[in-house]
Symmetry: C2
Subunit: 266 residues, 2 copies
């Protein structure tokens, strides 16, 4: 299992954290098992009076907007000068607020659809940073090059996503989880989803060995969505934190991009 992205924060971020009882060590390291890139650990600069919100010629707010709109792509780490800004964003209310607007729009969309009730209406969710949040793991287990060990960690649900999930089920929409996690992580992933409240689903699709030789997430996920549609499912909505969850083919009736300024998957 390879480390995919490393993202550091410093413990003083706790001062503004909305995550209760979260012990944050000196560095938080972000691992993603489904990327085959190892990035250098990104040490945060010391806190300054300006809270490090600016990099020369560009504000971190503008950088984040460009990332979220898919204007800046292929990046391997948060710009050093924006690490603190991103940390505050992720641990504070802003990330949650931004997520809520997206899940609210998604629910409005789902409610507007003419659902047939034949059990073929589905919603496709990505897993990491879409339905489950790995942030507490990185806060408490992140020590540089230690590999992500999902067997020892239960990721909490993203609160707004879990609410959306329950609302979608109540509308009669079935849920498919489509994740870049690999097939060998099926048991732990399924157990994690159940434990935090995602108690039922139509399918959990993990990356199998046919995709291991260099398929991007766009290719893998497009092919799997195509299979779903070939099996008669109608993708009412498709939600992920990466544009690679949403672009490509068979994207569904509408796509919804949750915020994630921490890492990029192509």
């Amino acid at each position: 299992m390879k480390i995919l992205q490393v993202f550091s924060l410093i413990s003083t971020l706790l001062a503004t954290s909305q995550v209760p009882d979260l012990h944050i060590p000196n560095q938080i390291h972000l691992h993603r098992p489904d990327l085959h890139i190892y990035n250098q650990i990104h040490f945060l600069r010391p806190l300054s009076g300006s809270r490090g919100h600016d990099i020369p010629g560009v504000s971190c707010s503008s950088w984040r907007l460009a990332v979220e709109t898919n204007n800046i792509i292929g990046w391997t780490k948060v710009p050093e000068e924006c690490a603190n800004y991103v940390g505050h964003y992720m641990l504070g209310q802003h990330y949650r607020d931004d997520s809520k607007v997206v899940t609210d729009a998604a629910l409005d969309h789902a409610k507007s659809m003419n659902l047939t009730g034949d059990g073929k209406d589905i919603w496709v969710f990505d897993v990491d940073e879409t339905t489950l949040s790995n942030l507490p793991y990185y806060a408490t287990n992140g020590f540089g090059s230690t590999a992500y060990n999902s067997t020892s960690f239960n990721a909490p649900a993203l609160p707004e996503s879990l609410k959306l999930y329950k609302s979608l089920l109540s509308l009669g929409i079935k849920v498919v989880f489509l994740t870049g996690r690999t097939e060998d992580q099926r048991n732990v992933t399924v157990a994690n989803l159940k434990e935090v409240g995602y108690y039922t689903w139509e399918k959990v699709i993990l990356k199998n060995s046919t995709y291991y030789s260099g398929s991007t997430a766009v290719v893998y996920k497009s092919k799997e969505r195509k299979k779903l549609e070939e099996n008669g499912y109608r993708i009412i909505g498709n939600m992920g934190d990466q544009w690679s969850d949403l672009l490509g083919t068979n994207s569904g009736n509408r796509t919804f991009k949750l915020p994630d300024p921490m890492y990029y998957i192509s």
Copy 2:
């Protein structure tokens, strides 16, 4: 010619404006000749101490992010509670900074391409709020239901877009303007582009009558890009302020979404 979108500000916004010598009347009205919707004039609420940044349950910052990421679509006006926020954004440095990050990313992309120098590499630009800015017009001519009169107005160039345009030309990339403005506006559009510094191009494509009967911008622009590719052009980049400039088919090697929280075109 129909009014498409109305957006109001109040004159006190001038206090933070970066636009020099801009007299802003009590209401700024945004007209777009290429949309066939009339929206009610949107009166701004009185300024409050909080500068009106919040609407119940959602911050205007989150609303704007959701708009820019295409999560909130089909909207016909800025939420009343966010009009002041959007006004400050557009007239202040934030809009310009956000635009610069996008055009910088676009130039980086263009420079990274293997250009053949055969004159077939093109860059597709939308016009309104992409290469030309109508904001000063709305500021000085917007009086409710008065129709947009482009024969009497020269829109200034968006500064960062004009810089990008010049850089692209210097790389040997040709420029195609693809706009939802209609064919009867060709002369005034061409004159305006030239006057503000867009002095050369390969084509200016305006909407002709074959598209009048209900074609969306996505359909119209996709078909016109397809024609370009059928004629041997390679679309190196495609830039617009609306997702309808960028989605659909034949979108180009990369797309770039400039900010526009003022109106939505499908």
